[in-house]
Symmetry: C2
């Protein structure tokens, strides 16, 4: 028999990691619901046609496709078989695929459920997504996204709500030194107009989006390869100078100065971003956690207004959250003109950050707090009684299920990381007193059942 293994890019989560993940998700869920977001879930399997064409050619390649069940070759495209053409063969042997993100399934859900939903519709969704990316440090083929979106309103109060939500969740999780980076696609549009490169807008955003991977020189090179003149490139690079100031409003002012004064759309966008930042600070988001970054572009094409990214100072990963406004997300499924704005928390990266800074709190452990030991064969009834009594008080407890040497049972208790052990044996039967041991201090006492429960409850 070969040694079992799991596919590369996937992970098993053992008890310690899972307890922390569950704690993370519970903090997020509580914040989402406090902000009036409602939960939905969509199937892991979507029709292949729902997903293809939504993430670009590269994305299409990375979508995991499910083989049709049964005798899939019976309906396989013969021409494609003859020419061994994987791409042409695909639709005849696969009808379903695994979701690649939560945004496209959300758009499909909204279109299909439009008659049952009240708009603006605020939903949160915390589910696994799958991507056939090359696995690497912090990059998995299976990971969890936690999204919050508001669809059906153009109001900037929605952006504000999401900035407050970033702050609520990330401070609730104790993420140290997070920075909510803000920009607006309309400002980038305005800059492109003022530099006369409107027609190369997507070249601009693609190049900017690579900045944290390729650096400023890389961006220059990329823009050059995409056909921009030296003057145009220098214009673009001038926005990096704005990053010299740490002052949010100074940076924004700097961008405004680069816009054409008569460019009403861009000037309006500037005013809106200014208002958004002011409101966010007024409503309690610490100014130290907010940044305006004119070089922020976000790769995805569907963003049309405000865009967000959250980075963590000195963290071993890139951005941990992202998002933005999209004017027409449901248009891909035939429902035009529904504007919305959404953000996504990358749970796996947030986990990595918290682990890096050793920032998980004690309460993120959910292992048993007490182990009841069985000292001899007659102790069974006592073990059951004490275990039930502990659980009835809401204490997480289990019992050693058979008689074994005390040393072995104590080692098991230590491995489990319990706070107390309670021993059931002859002493307990004769004197009605239990030996209870505090694992951390090693202090051991003989107490009545009620006193044992009291001691444990007050100490935990």
């Amino acid at each position: 028999m070969s040694k079992p293994s799991i596919p590369k890019g996937t992970r098993d989560f053992g008890p310690v990691i899972m307890a922390r993940r569950n704690w993370m998700f519970s903090i997020m869920r509580r914040s989402f619901e406090r902000y009036g977001f409602q939960p939905i879930e969509t199937p892991a399997m979507e029709s292949l046609s729902t997903l293809t064409g939504k993430y670009g050619d590269e994305g299409d390649q990375l979508i995991f496709k499910l083989l049709n069940n049964g005798d899939f070759m019976a309906k396989a495209n013969s021409n494609a078989l003859d020419s061994k053409d994987s791409k042409a063969l695909l639709p005849s042997i696969s009808k379903k695929a695994l979701r690649y993100d939560l945004t496209v399934p959300f758009a499909r859900f909204v279109v299909m459920s439009r008659n049952d939903l009240a708009f603006p519709f605020r939903r949160y969704q915390m589910q696994t997504v799958w991507r056939g990316d090359r696995p690497g440090k912090g990059r998995y083929q299976e990971f969890t996204q936690c999204d919050a979106d508001i669809i059906g309103s153009e109001s900037i109060l929605c952006e504000l709500d999401l900035m407050q939500l970033f702050n609520e969740v990330l401070s609730g999780l104790g993420v140290p030194g997070y920075q909510i980076m803000v920009n607006d696609r309309r400002l980038l549009n305005g800059l492109a107009r003022s530099w006369g490169i409107e027609s190369q807008f997507s070249d601009l955003t693609v190049a900017l989006d690579k900045w944290d991977k390729i650096g400023e020189d890389g961006v220059r090179k990329e823009l050059h390869e995409r056909g921009m003149s030296s003057e145009q490139i220098e214009n673009v690079m001038s926005i990096f100078d704005l990053l010299d100031s740490q002052d949010v409003f100074a940076r924004l002012k700097g961008v405004q100065a680069l816009l054409l004064p008569e460019d009403e759309e861009a000037q309006n966008a500037h005013n809106e971003v200014l208002k958004l930042l002011e409101m966010a600070i007024d409503s309690g988001v610490p100014i130290s956690c907010i940044s305006f970054d004119p070089t922020l572009a976000r790769g995805l094409n569907y963003y049309t207004g405000a865009i967000f990214e959250v980075r963590v100072k000195d963290a071993p990963v890139g951005s941990i959250c992202g998002g933005g406004r999209y004017a027409n997300l449901t248009g891909i499924f035939g429902w035009e003109g529904m504007s919305g704005v959404g953000i996504s928390f990358g749970a796996d990266r947030i986990y990595d950050v918290l682990e890096h800074f050793q920032a998980f709190p004690v309460e993120s452990s959910t292992g048993p707090q007490v182990l009841v030991l069985m000292l001899d064969h007659d102790a069974e009834a006592g073990v059951l009684k004490m275990t039930s009594a502990l659980r009835n008080k809401g204490i997480r407890a289990s019992a050693y299920p058979s008689v074994a040497k005390l040393k072995k049972q104590m080692k098991y208790a230590a491995d489990l990381g319990v706070n107390f052990v309670v021993m059931a044996g002859e002493e307990e039967r004769l004197q009605k007193e239990w030996t209870v041991r505090h694992m951390e201090t090693g202090q051991q006492q003989q107490l009545s059942e009620a006193a044992v429960l009291d001691l444990i409850r007050t100490t935990l």
Copy 2:
């Protein structure tokens, strides 16, 4: 553009359903942890070789296989292509598949993590599984299992723990009229020995397992087709007579009478089942919720001792939980002799039962409790202030994000199902008093901010 849809056998879960599902999962999680079970999760994608051969030929057919990414045809088996042989082609174009249950991945996890775990290891796992079954009422291609297992102990206290856990979870969820059915594979073995049909044991269990679908006559026919004599069949059917008594212990006594007195293994099993049932009742599981069913067989081959199934009286679905003892689960991955026992809660069926009996409690709703209305353009600051104040008190609140007719905003509040609306407008700015309306009674008051918060907190 074609109308979007989702694959048959899959479901979208909207806000009402999701809130109830989350409530269910939180009750289960709390009980699992109180019983000292620790959470793990395994990847949705397993190596194909991990899953195949574990669920029988029929099961293998129902496993969802993932097509290799990229140019999968490049490595396709040429002979299989020429002969259009799906089964022979499969291993050359697919290396991964979706998990089919949580038990096999758990066994793999235990073998791979054996050095990091303390045994007996108690784990719970709540995750989606996928099966290419024909979709039907209560039968989905994607559904959630919630499993609790104890591996590494032969003690009957483990069985007892799981019976208590059934009771704790199902009473916690308010499932009405649940029956925990108990039997033991070793009793069935003993009966087979006493009837001289040991060699047809798996025919026996397969036929019994179909009883609730095909009835007693169906079981007779099945046994006949599998080559049993009339006398053997009458012997088997005699255990159905034992069901005439509702008394747990009378039934068990009836089975004992059918065992060979010198069959030590079977007699021991009888004594253990008797002890288990007595202990379960002693430890607080209501006798009305426990049943002993000598016809219970459970189809799966890996069960070797106690077996469980939970059914609900007058419910529209079959069993909602199952489980049992397995002497050698990890043997399939090369680690022999680890005995364990586990149970599985079928979350989707439990949901269907609770919905059928309209048994979801009020607290299973997590929608916004308050909507703050925006009566005019100057009300923005007031809206923000009140919304934040509500959220800071832990109240689930959102705001109407733009000015709209009062009627429209009130309709939205009603659609959301909020308990209160609070209005921000001129009155609030001039008099510092907010109009707050209780949606259920229609009662409307003018109150200070503090009084609004008090009223809402005390009413909710």
